[in-house]
């Protein structure tokens, strides 16, 4: 049994008021996610990520194909007791406080009052909403709502969690919190299925990804396999470089850009290996400040995939 299973899942929306034109938001998606996996659904905006999640939660109904969660069809209400969902840019009820919202959802999930009393404060602490928990949600910022959204997705200690753009609206500290949360869920054996249009989010947490573009699955597999060939070179910042050393470096590098006194950015070809680079620079008398791989953005990757596979959206807005 897969944690999540879709088969030729397809969704057409009708556009236009008078003359309805079909618009294919998702085209024959077939996907399996195993239990305990952290699975990333990647793609640029409008790729069909949110549609996929809404189909899995049955917020929209498929035009054709089918989907299962924990071996049950998505229409099964009982299975929702075992899942959690964070919508994109979540919004809740203005008049409730975070505690009341979680309590309300806890009731709907059939949690006992003892469970609710024990879990809710702990969860809110975990997502970093300690002090504001008694504030009505209308006074929350976007980032705080995102945190409440995470908390409500986890209140039933779900077996499968769906997170739609969980990092959006968060500052770097918040992003790290989400990353840690996801890894913590993974350690407990929870399946995490999340969508993002930012590659680094996926890199930091995912075991496997699927990439969508124009409503179609472009590729899926381990992120490293998909993107390894995507490294275009290395960018190294070095310090304490004398003029002679700089001349020597210029010979081997693709480019050498001075930043400040004695500090340079060096671009190296993709064939370079970081450990060797470190060693070479040290022996040349320069100290390395940072080494970063220069890679395709997800957009570059999509563009190339589209060019290679000839996938293009059949009907566009």
């Amino acid at each position: 049994m897969h944690a999540i299973h879709t088969e030729d899942l397809t969704k057409d929306y009708a556009l236009g008021f008078w003359r309805k034109r079909p618009y294919r938001a998702l085209d024959r998606l077939t996907l399996d996610v195993e239990g305990g996996e952290v699975f990333g659904l990647l793609g640029p905006n409008g790729a069909g990520k949110t549609t996929t999640l809404k189909l899995l939660l049955q917020l929209v109904f498929p035009t054709s194909g089918r989907a299962e969660i924990l071996g049950r069809p998505t229409g099964d209400v009982a299975v929702r007791r075992r899942i959690g969902y964070l919508p994109e840019n979540p919004y809740f009820y203005d008049h409730l406080t975070a505690v009341e919202l979680l309590d309300y959802f806890g009731r709907l999930l059939g949690l006992s009052s003892a469970d609710r009393a024990a879990r809710i404060p702990r969860l809110l602490d975990q997502v970093g909403l300690g002090a504001e928990r008694r504030l009505p949600l209308r006074r929350y910022s976007k980032g705080m709502l995102q945190r409440v959204g995470l908390a409500q997705a986890l209140v039933n200690e779900p077996e499968v969690v769906f997170l739609d753009e969980p990092m959006s609206g968060l500052d770097p500290i918040g992003r790290r919190m989400v990353r840690e949360l996801i890894l913590g869920l993974r350690d407990r054996g929870t399946t995490v299925f999340f969508s993002s249009h930012i590659l680094s989010d996926a890199e930091a947490a995912c075991s496997r990804v699927a990439i969508l573009a124009g409503g179609r699955l472009v590729s899926s597999g381990r992120l490293a396999d998909l993107l390894a060939f995507g490294i275009k070179g290395w960018e190294v910042v070095v310090e304490g470089v004398s003029r002679e050393v700089a001349d020597k470096l210029r010979a081997g590098a693709a480019s050498l850009t001075p930043i400040a006194e004695g500090r340079y950015t060096v671009e190296l070809p993709p064939s370079a290996r970081p450990d060797q680079v470190m060693a070479e620079f040290s022996s040349a008398g320069a100290s390395v400040v940072s080494i970063n791989p220069v890679r395709d953005t997800l957009e570059d990757f999509f563009m190339r995939q589209v060019a290679e596979h000839g996938h293009a959206r059949e009907v566009r807005l």
């Binding site: 939660l57 209400v77 840019n89 919004y91 009820y93 008049h95 959802f105």
Partner: protein, 270 residues
């Protein structure tokens, strides 16, 4: 368990109306009624008790109508507009249960509203009775603290329940503005409904007469819920009549909720 979930939704609707200061209308109601009773007492002789009853029942109906329509059309729509429905429906809650819970929550709000208004009216009437001389009391058609008023309040409540169901029904597939307009439209038609049937006295064409007759039976008929005219004059309202009217409301509400839930259960929440 289902009842538990519906109940949780209903309680949340009730809590929202409390927090959104819906019950402030009760304050206005009390001020209007007390103010009117003072004024009327100065201006008319003898009939003031009837006028206060008229006013109290009419205001209960009108204030309740505004609560029923304006909250009713937003019940489901607000969830969609603010996207709170996404996280809500990811919980083990059927869409039908959501619709029913929303409806029951507003029904509870209206029940509290009407009950408090009835209490306020009785208080004002008690005060008027206390301050009226014996010879004035003798001229009243109906006693000041007439329990028959409760029948009028009961039917007003069921009328409001029906209006709420209409509002909720429309809001499962259209915008709140349109839903409110349609609901008010049906409310007005519902009161002049009897005219539809009697158009045959001025319309010649048979098909039109039959069509109007059909509309009379199909559209919600709200006029029978207004028994204020009988009650304030101390005329009895038959128990069977009240039961049949309540039965009519209940079946009509069941129809509207079933149809509304059915539409809502099939919608895509884009």
């Amino acid at each position: 368990m289902t009842a538990g979930r519906i109940g949780a939704v209903a309680v949340s609707v009730f809590r929202e109306s409390v927090r959104d200061r819906v019950f402030y209308n009760l304050l206005l109601f009390a001020v209007v009624l007390v103010g009117a009773s003072v004024l009327v007492g100065q201006m008319t002789a003898g009939q003031d008790i009837k006028i206060i009853k008229d006013l109290g029942l009419a205001a209960t109906s009108l204030f309740g109508l505004f609560v029923a329509v304006f909250i009713g059309v937003g019940l489901v729509w607000k969830e969609l507009e603010r996207r709170s429905v996404y996280s809500l429906l990811a919980k083990p809650l059927r869409r039908t249960e959501l619709v029913l819970g929303k409806y029951l929550g507003l029904a509870l709000t209206l029940a509290v509203n009407v009950a408090v208004m009835a209490a306020v009216l009785y208080l004002v009437l008690a005060w008027m009775w206390w301050t009226s001389p014996e010879n004035l009391r003798a001229a009243w058609e109906a006693p000041a603290l007439d329990p028959a008023l409760l029948v009028a309040f009961l039917l007003i409540y069921f009328q409001l329940l029906l209006v709420t169901a209409v509002a909720l029904f429309f809001s499962t597939f259209s915008s709140p503005m349109l839903s409110a307009a349609l609901t008010f439209g049906l409310y007005v038609i519902g009161h002049f409904n009897a005219d539809l049937k009697h158009f045959e006295s001025i319309v010649e064409s048979k098909p039109i007469v039959w069509m109007l007759r059909g509309l009379y039976y199909l559209l919600p008929n709200l006029a029978p819920f207004d028994v204020a005219g009988e009650v304030v004059h101390g005329q009895a309202v038959a128990g069977g009549y009240v039961l049949m009217t309540i039965g009519y409301a209940s079946v009509y509400i069941a129809f509207l909720l079933a149809a509304g839930a059915h539409i809502f259960a099939r919608r895509d929440f884009k």
